[in-house]
Symmetry: C2
Subunit: 328 residues, 2 copies
């Protein structure tokens, strides 16, 4: 049996807990280090998940040579800085979504990974869930005929605290970057990319960020995507793919999908694929597979796609007048 794949975790916040629980479900992976700007938080996290090494700074974690990959789980606005810190030390990095706060940050991250020749991937975990293989197979088999429309929403009702991560521009606030990335990445996954033709509208709240938004994407062949996101209103949080001969639904919560439904005028097929743990284990498996194979990126979540997604969101923010302090 080969050695276990050794993970370091950078920033032990909410999402890192889910990731850690996912790793614990994998027989061939282990958590070996965690770094926080507060040593005590790192130690608490390490104790909870029996992680041998806890560091009081991101720098120390990045200097740990005995890890195979680092999961960057900071708030969005720190992704670029912390990812580059790890890449520069030669570490493979799985960076939480959204990849970066704006295009410039994303470009710097990708440039660094390429220059250093190390693996980098956006943690678009939903894409790696087992039921997505079922959906991909249905699409490949042409079960819904010609692809015509994607409808996808990720809107929820946050607490509305203007200082919170969700609404603070300095922390990449707004629905687009926090949850809009899911419908966009889903659409990009279905169609193999994002189109040029886009129309959108957003409600900009008192803190200057998008509290809800609608996006229409038109593909050259005439297929469309109709996407919504937001952080102040509960939405459907489901995904549908409509074709000429039928449709596929991924029920709520689609971003953590456990089932998919294929409907045609003649039939309804419901496929269930339970998760091993939290669902974050599948993206971790993909990283381990790629790194062990010597790949510098995942064919299922390429860096060019993360660049496209980030540029797309940066362009939308510009159109909406949503500016972050670090934007050029």
């Amino acid at each position: 049996m080969p050695a276990k794949f050794r993970w370091g975790i950078l920033a032990p916040g909410t999402i890192a807990h889910k990731f850690a629980a996912g790793i614990q479900a994998l027989p061939d992976a282990e958590l070996v280090a965690v770094g926080s700007r507060a040593l005590e938080r790192a130690q608490d996290f390490a104790a909870k998940y029996r992680i041998p090494r806890a560091y009081g700074s991101y720098q120390e974690l990045a200097a740990d040579a005995e890890v195979d990959a680092i999961y960057v789980a900071t708030p969005h606005h720190l992704h670029a800085e912390t990812t580059i810190l790890c890449l520069e030390r030669g570490h493979a990095v799985l960076c939480e979504k959204p990849f970066a706060g704006n295009s410039q940050q994303a470009e710097a991250m990708v440039a660094c990974a390429r220059r250093r020749g190390v693996f980098l991937m956006e943690a678009m975990w939903s894409r790696f869930l087992p039921v997505m293989d079922v959906v991909a197979e249905w699409l490949k088999q042409g079960r819904i005929g010609e692809l015509r429309r994607v409808e996808c929403d990720f809107s929820f009702r946050g607490d509305g605290n203007p200082l919170s991560r969700l609404l603070n521009p300095a922390l990449c606030g707004g629905g687009l970057l926090d949850v809009g990335i899911y419908p966009l990445a889903f659409t990009s996954w279905v169609f193999g990319g994002l189109p040029q033709q886009v129309a959108s509208l957003a409600e900009i709240g008192r803190t200057g960020v998008d509290e809800q938004a609608g996006m229409l994407l038109l593909y050259p062949g005439g297929a469309m995507a109709v996407l919504t996101c937001g952080v102040r209103t509960q939405g459907q949080v489901s995904a549908r793919i409509l074709g000429t001969e039928g449709s596929i639904e991924i029920p709520s919560p689609f971003f953590c999908a456990r089932e998919a439904v294929l409907r045609t005028p003649q039939s309804e097929v419901r496929e269930r694929r339970p998760l091993l743990a939290t669902g974050y284990e599948y993206e971790a498996m993909e990283v381990a597979r790629c790194v062990r194979a010597g790949l510098l990126e995942s064919p299922a979540m390429r860096l060019e796609e993360s660049l496209d997604l980030t540029r797309f969101m940066t362009r939308l923010r510009a159109e909406w007048g949503v500016r972050y302090p670090f934007d050029p």
Copy 2:
């Protein structure tokens, strides 16, 4: 008991059959005349619904003084011409939706009704269904809190015949006028009008009309509407109203709604309201009520709203490059 309300039907097509079946379910209404450009069609229709007078021209029907209102059920592109024909003879008119082919036609119709001092209403029948009273009451009671978003689709898969009414520009083809009017009218009903801020995209097919379209509407307070329509892909054909405290769903087919669901984090309430007949009987009841009360329009479907809806669709078509031969 007062005399029955006497209906004339202009153009005995598919929709006229549904309307006629609706009238037959009403104890205080009757069908007294039908007019078609082909006498035999009028006679067949008259025989089926036991209508005493069948005419081989629209002019003869319009000249029949013994009717209380005429239901105009022609294809869209003839609405203006035939409605004005009846109005000029002093008849109250219920004109099938969409009201008109473009703004100019709608304005001419409304000007004629006002000049002649006769009743006119767009046959937006869905609005008068019994379950809509339940939805209106929920909204009035603030059961879903502050109004935040409407999501509504009317998309279906037509046969794709390029000469058909659905795809022929000369017959007002395209999804917007045929079915997009339903989500737009629903939105206008919920919010009490349409906003200025709109973003949309449409797939224009080989015949030059919109085969599917997405529309985003942003209201001054930040609430949005996310609407889709089309004639080549089956969609959800449902409506949802999202608020800060809950949501209302009108399941498919929302345009012929028999039930509505009110959901909050704590509860789910499902109200069912079966139809007397086809559902078209309720708009007919409204027309009879208004005409008997001496009203020149219905407070529930005002002429200004029909003008707004028509202008909105005319503007969208212009943005999409969808031109009808009779457009100025």
